[in-house]
Assembly symmetry: C2
Homo-oligomer: 336 residues x 2
């Protein structure tokens, strides 16, 4: 299939995945359709047709009678080929879809991508690439949760994948020529960090095809010191959830403070729309999904708690990555 | 020495430690003195007397001609017995001071405590206990940076130390009877986490003298799901710096938003004092210092970038812990 043909393939949405499926998945898919995204719903056909009828929309449906729930084990996908996430991922493998998007069990989505699509050449483990708002725009964090235990050798591979991703993706204002790469640690100095991070640091220093900045610290993520921040999937997951949780609590305190007196209530009314923009920037549903990099195909993972807006934004993002030919670039990332 | 006598000992301040020493250390010590704290300055005598003269205050000074700088290695303290942090720590060991407080090289302060004071019975590695503001009050996090690499066996020891600390410390409203303990991981379910965390989880489940809640996630820290959150020193350090960095960037955005239009400027004036309270809550200098738990003596570690307020608050906190007889409780924490 040519590049142009590939980018016209539909996006397979695991319509049964997520805490509020299929209501929010169908609602999000219908909104994305209005914005020009070519979506196929994958899941229980009678349920999906009923939901489409309820919401008064039309979308193609591919049947999958099984669904992996949040209580299942990630490895179960291998034994359940008729689960919605597996059917959707297989469509990517078979060239029937350009990407798979799932708000369901993250581990199952990853396992499905790993077993069905396979790893890219030179990649030991795929990683989740996440976007975090920063003072300079966006910080790209990986691994955001795929690998709780890591080896130093993963880091140079992830550095290369993220670099190529940022170079190829048509960001607002075009791709970055030389995205900077930081290694998350507990001090800026080269000799600070855990044993794994120290070894990873040495390996990253040797790479000539990335723009390695050196170590960065926790505060550098929001500061935007580097475009890319590398970390293990354990720390990456904690970072993401902490960042979201802190913003939530801070905005709660602000809401409280703004209604603490008649004067601050009046002030609160005047500043409401200004603050709304910041809340929106910090809202995880604005981004919707994260890309799993390192597999032979485009697989996007979202929050189980995703709302329709997150599904819609996730599909739009998947479409943008699909059209940018990012996968072809990623595929040759580790050959140079 | 009896308990009552011990609590009357002065606090030894490493007056040469920190980015802005001795100006801010002396200024903070003089403020703490006004609030009833018995402080001894440790460091270069001529410099400290000059600084006291400049600031128009009087405090006892113990001479130490050497100082560990931020560029030195932590292990150097062993070879430099005349460094200010070593002299101050030795005063605790020798019963001349009730606690040591340093805003200098954290690694050196820890090394000094470890080598000079020694570990408590049953403790393999001391840990930094940090306080993070939460929706429910305060979350106590450890290890906040002392051990980048950990073993599962450290966790039950730290759980016990933090539990006893919270039980003994006269918090606002009295000590907690059964503080809850959470293990920081990447999912609430018992089977989620890195290999080390899974093993630590199993060990914590066996303990009958702590109130183990199970796994908590990144967002639970600010939510205040448990009183205590256990993690390795690598993740703990990232958590702290991320939390501070995020608050800083968010407040920067808010400040910008509140001056984006004449209307929001007016609103900003009306809500300023309400927002000030939240900023204050998130300000690291409000807490000042963190306790190193697991050593035979009270050793407090602060930010290198500490201002006079942080030094003052750190000394007040050290005084409060000293008076609460926390050390005696910690000493027998692992015997039961």
């Amino acid at each position: 299939m040519t590049r142009a043909e590939n980018s016209k393939l539909p996006i397979a949405l695991d319509a049964m995945g997520g805490d509020f499926a299929p209501q929010v998945t169908v609602a999000g898919a219908l909104e994305a359709q209005k914005r020009g995204v070519n979506v196929v719903l994958v899941g229980d056909e009678p349920k999906l047709h009923l939901e489409l009828f309820r919401q008064g929309g039309r979308l193609p449906v591919v049947h999958a009678e099984d669904v992996i729930s949040m209580d299942d084990h990630a490895g179960d996908v291998r034994k359940r080929p008729r689960s919605s996430v597996q059917v959707a991922t297989r469509m990517v493998k078979d060239g029937e879809a350009g990407a798979v998007v799932s708000m369901g069990h993250s581990g199952a989505t990853m396992a499905s991508a790993l077993f069905t699509l396979g790893r890219l050449k030179g990649v030991e483990r795929p990683a989740i690439l996440n976007r975090i708002p920063s003072a300079k725009g966006v910080t790209y964090l990986l691994d955001a949760g795929a690998n709780a235990d890591v080896k130093p050798s993963y880091y140079p591979q992830w550095a290369r994948l993220a670099t190529v991703y940022l170079q190829s993706l048509p960001l607002e204002g075009g791709g970055l020529e030389k995205p900077s790469v930081g290694l998350l640690s507990i001090g800026e100095e080269d000799h600070k960090g855990s044993q794994t991070v120290l070894e990873a640091h040495a390996l990253l220093r040797e790479l000539s095809n990335i723009n390695f900045h050196g170590n960065v610290e926790g505060n550098d993520i929001f500061k935007g010191t580097t475009d890319i921040v590398l970390t293990d999937g354990f720390t990456g997951n904690i970072v993401l959830k902490l960042a979201e949780g802190e913003a939530k609590v801070l905005f709660g305190w602000i809401r409280e403070a703004l209604s603490s007196s008649p004067l601050s209530k009046l002030g609160g009314l005047l500043v409401r729309s200004a603050l709304q923009g910041i809340r929106k920037k910090m809202d995880p549903s604005e981004y919707g999904v994260s890309l799993l990099v390192g597999v032979k195909g485009l697989s996007f993972i979202g929050h189980g708690s995703a709302d329709a807006k997150a599904v819609e934004n996730g599909l739009l993002y998947a479409q943008r990555v699909l059209e940018s030919n990012t996968l072809e670039h990623l595929s040759s990332a580790l050959e140079g």
